[in-house]
Amino acid sequence: MSTADAVAGVLWIGATLYAVFAGADFGAGLWTLLAGTSERGRRARALVDWAIGPVWEANHVWLIFVLVVLWTAFSVAFESVMSTLFIPLSIAALGIVLRGSGFAFHKQARRLRYRRFAQRLFDVSSLLTPFFMGTVVGAIASGQVPVGNAAGDPVSSWTGPAPILTGALFVATGAYLSAVFLVSDARRAGDADLERYFADRAQVAAVVAGGLAVAGLIVYHADAKYIYDGLVGDALPLVILSAVCGAAVLAILWRGGRRGTRPLAIGAVVAVVWGWGVAQHPYLLPKSLTISEGAGAQTTLEAVLIVFAVAVLVVLPSLGFLYTLAQRGVVEEEPTPPDPAAGAGDTRA
C-alpha cells in the first residue's frame, strides 16, 4: 500500500465518522420536524435536544477534518469537487450554519414565536445538509466531476437520478441511525412510551433506507457503472454485511428487543461507506483521477499521516474522558420534571 493509499484511508476514516455521528445528528432533525405539536411530539423533541446536546459540536470537526485532509493531500480533487459542485456544497454549508444557530438559539430564545422559528430552522436545515451532501457523493460516484476549476456542469452534474437518489438515501440513513440511537436514549431517560415511538420510526426508516439502497443499485447500474461493478465485485462482502446488519436491526426491533441495535446499525452504515470506498478504488474521482494521480507531494502526505497519528493519541483519550463524564452526569441526574425556564416548556408562552 502506498502512502497515498494510506492517506486516502485516513480520509475514509474521517468520512465514516462523519457519516455515523453527523448522520445520526442530522437525522434527528427529521424526527423533530415530523414530531408535530402533540404532547408526545413535544416530548420527542425534548429527548432529541437532550440526546444531542453535549456532543453536537464535535460532529462538525469530522467534516472539517475530511475537508482539510482532502485539500492538503489531494488538492486537485478538492479543487475540482468544490468548484463543479459549488451549488449543492454551498447549500450544505448554509444548512450547517442555520442548523447550528437554530440549535444554539432555540433554547435561549425568550418568546415562544422565536423559539418555534429557531426550532423550524433546525429541522429544515437538518434535511438540507445531508441531502445535498448526498448529491455531492452521487455526482462524484457517477463521474460527473472532471478535473479542473469548475470544469463540470454546475447544475446537471448533481441533478441526475444517481445524485438525487443518493441524497435521499443519505437523509433516510441519517433518520434511521438517529431513530435507533434515540430508542436507547429514551430508554436511558426511562421513557417507555418514547422508546416504542422511536422503535416504530426506526423500523419504518430502515425499510425506506433499504428500499432506497436497492433502488440506488439499479440507478447506479445505469448511471455509475464503475461503482456498480465495484459494489457487486470487490465490495460485495461489505454490501452483504451491511444488508445483514440492517436486517438484523429490523428483526430485533420487530421482536421488541433493544440489545445490540446500535452497534449493528452503525455496522450497516460503516460497511456501506467502506463498500463505496472499495468500489471506487483506485479512483478518487471515478474514471478521471486516481488516488496516486491526485496525491500531493510525498512530504505532505507523510506529514498528514503524522498529524493524524498525533490526533489519535491526543483526541481519543480526551474524547473518552468527556463521554465518561457525560454518561456519569446522566446517571447522577434523575429525570426531573421540566424547569419552567428550560427549553422543554415548548407549548407554554
Binding site: 453536537w56 478538492f78 479543487e79 447550528g100 412510551d193 500531493g296 507531494a297 474522558f321 421540566p338
Partner: protein
C-alpha cells in the same frame, strides 16, 4: 470570504482569550476562596461555550469557502499550507472537548481538578491561533517550496512553512490582539453595568480581571506591532508604502497621520517630516520604498482606506495604553479604579474600540497584500473559483451573518438578564440540563 473572516476573527479572538480570563477568575476564586470569582468563572465558561459554538460554525463555513471560493489557490498550494490547518484541527478538537469537560465539570469535579481541565483549553486556543495565523503569515512571506514549471509547488519543506518568516511577528501580534479584544470587551460589559449603578463586588471583579489583562497586553502589543511594521517595511515594502502612502522611494520621508492619499502625495493630515524614515530605520536618512517602484497593477488598492486603518489601529492602541496608565496610577495610589465616571465610560467604549482596531489590522494585512493572495507568487484573481453565482453566495452569506451576529448578541444579553434575575441558563453543552420529563410529568 473576507467578510466571513472578518466576522470569524472576532469569535476566534474570544475563543482564544476568553478561556484564559475564565481560568484566571477560577484561580482567584480557588486561591482566595472567593465565591464571587468562582461565579464569574462559571458564567464566563457558559458565555465561552456560546461564542465557541458560533465560532465553530463560522469556522466550518470557512473551510468550505477555501474550496468554494478559492479552488485554484487550494489546488496549487493546499499541499503547502494545508498541514497547518490539519494541526489546527487537533487544537480545535482538543479545545472543544475540554471546554465541554470544563463546563460539565462544574460541581462534578473537585476545585483544582476542575481548574486543570480548563488549562488545555487555553493552550489549545493559543496553539490553534498559531496554526491559523501562520497560514496568513505564509501568504505574506511564502517559503518552503519551489515553483514547478506549471506553477504548482514542489520540493515542499514543511518546517519552513510552519515556521515561516512572518510568524515571529504576526502570530504574537494576533494572539495579543485576541487578549486585548476579549479583555476590553468583557471589561466594557461590566463597566456599563457599573455605570448603571450595579456596583457590587461581582461587577467590580468582572471589570478588574479582564481590564488588568488587557492593560498589561496593550503596551506589549504596541512594541510587537512596531516590530511588525518594521519587518513589513523590509519584507513587503509595497504593503508598507501603501500603509503610509509613500508614493516615491526616497529618504527623509514624512509620516502623515490620516490625510487623503493621491498620486502626488498625501493631501491633508498631520505631517511629521522625516519621522517615517526614522520609524523604519531609527534614522531620518533611511530610504523608504515607494509605491511607484512597482507597476500600477501591482500596488494595493484603496490606498486611503489602508492608510486610515493603519493609523486608526495605532491610535486606538495608544489610547488603550493611556487608559492602562490611568488605571495603573489610580491602583498604585489607592488600590482602586479611578473615581470619576469618565473612567468607566472610557472602559465602556474600549471594547468596541478594540474590535475596530482588530478589524483595521485585518484590513491592513489583507488589503495591503493585494493584488496578491500569496505575496509575489499568486494573484488573487488567479485564485478564485470559475463557478458563477459567487455574488449571490456573497449576498446570502452577508445576510446570514448579520442574523447570526444579531442573534449571538441577543442570546448573550438574554443570558445576562436571566443571571441578574438569578436564574440558571442553558447553553449548548448544558451541564444544568434536566433529563427530559417522563410521560406523566410536564405539559
Amino acid at each position: 470570504m473576507a467578510f466571513t473572516l472578518g466576522f470569524h476573527i472576532i469569535l476566534a479572538s474570544l475563543g482564544v482569550a476568553f478561556p484564559a480570563m475564565m481560568l484566571i477568575a477560577n484561580y482567584i476564586g480557588l486561591r482566595r476562596n472567593d465565591p464571587d470569582a468562582l461565579r464569574l468563572a462559571e458564567r464566563w465558561s457558559k458565555v465561552a461555550a456560546v461564542t465557541f459554538a458560533v465560532g465553530a460554525v463560522t469556522g466550518t463555513v470557512l473551510s468550505f469557502e477555501f474550496g468554494l471560493l478559492w479552488p485554484e489557490f487550494t489546488a496549487r498550494f493546499g499541499g503547502v499550507f494545508g498541514i497547518l490547518f490539519a494541526i489546527e484541527g487537533i487544537f480545535f478538537f482538543t479545545e472543544a472537548i475540554f471546554i465541554a469537560i470544563y463546563i460539565y465539570g462544574w460541581k462534578r469535579l473537585s476545585g483544582w481538578a476542575h481548574f486543570w481541565t480548563g488549562v488545555p483549553v487555553v493552550i489549545a486556543g493559543i496553539g490553534g491561533a498559531y496554526s491559523v495565523v501562520a497560514v496568513n503569515s505564509w501568504m505574506n512571506r511564502p517559503g518552503g517550496f519551489e515553483l514547478a514549471a506549471d506553477g504548482s509547488a514542489k520540493s515542499i519543506d514543511l518546517v519552513k512553512v510552519i515556521f515561516n518568516g512572518a510568524v515571529p511577528y504576526e502570530v504574537p501580534h494576533m494572539i495579543l490582539a485576541a487578549y486585548l479584544v476579549t479583555g476590553f470587551l468583557i471589561a466594557s460589559v461590566y463597566a456599563v453595568g457599573m455605570l448603571r449603578g450595579r456596583r457590587d463586588r461581582h461587577h467590580r471583579l468582572g471589570l478588574l480581571i479582564p481590564l488588568t489583562v488587557a492593560c498589561i497586553a496593550a503596551p506589549i502589543q504596541f512594541a510587537v506591532g512596531d516590530t511588525a511594521a518594521r519587518a513589513i517595511a523590509d519584507d513587503q515594502p509595497i504593503k508598507f508604502a501603501g500603509m503610509e502612502c509613500v508614493q516615491h522611494t526616497h529618504t527623509h520621508v514624512t509620516e502623515y497621520i490620516y490625510g487623503v492619499c493621491t498620486d502626488d502625495g498625501v493631501k491633508g493630515g498631520i505631517g511629521i517630516p522625516g519621522f517615517d524614515s526614522f520609524l523604519v530605520g531609527f534614522n531620518t536618512d533611511t530610504k523608504v520604498t515607494g509605491l511607484d517602484s512597482v507597476a500600477a497593477n501591482d500596488r494595493p488598492p484603496f490606498n486611503t482606506l489602508l492608510h486610515w486603518c493603519f493609523d486608526t489601529m495605532v491610535g486606538i492602541c495608544t489610547m488603550m495604553i493611556a487608559l492602562g496608565l490611568w488605571f495603573a496610577w489610580a491602583w498604585w495610589r489607592r488600590r482602586d479604579i479611578p473615581r470619576t465616571p469618565w473612567f468607566l465610560r472610557a472602559v465602556a467604549i474600549s471594547g468596541i474600540a478594540a474590535i475596530v482596531a482588530l478589524e483595521c489590522g485585518w484590513i491592513v494585512t489583507e488589503v495591503g497584500r493585494q493584488p496578491w493572495v500569496v505575496y509575489n507568487v499568486m494573484r488573487t484573481e488567479d485564485a478564485v473559483t470559475g463557478a458563477s453565482g459567487v455574488w449571490v453566495t456573497f449576498g446570502a452569506v452577508l445576510a446570514i451573518y448579520a442574523v447570526l451576529g444579531t442573534a449571538t448578541v441577543l442570546i448573550l444579553r438574554t443570558m445576562s438578564r436571566r443571571w441578574r434575575e438569578a436564574g440558571e441558563v442553558e447553553v449548548p453543552y448544558g451541564p444544568s440540563e434536566p433529563a427530559p420529563p417522563p410521560a406523566e410529568a410536564g405539559g
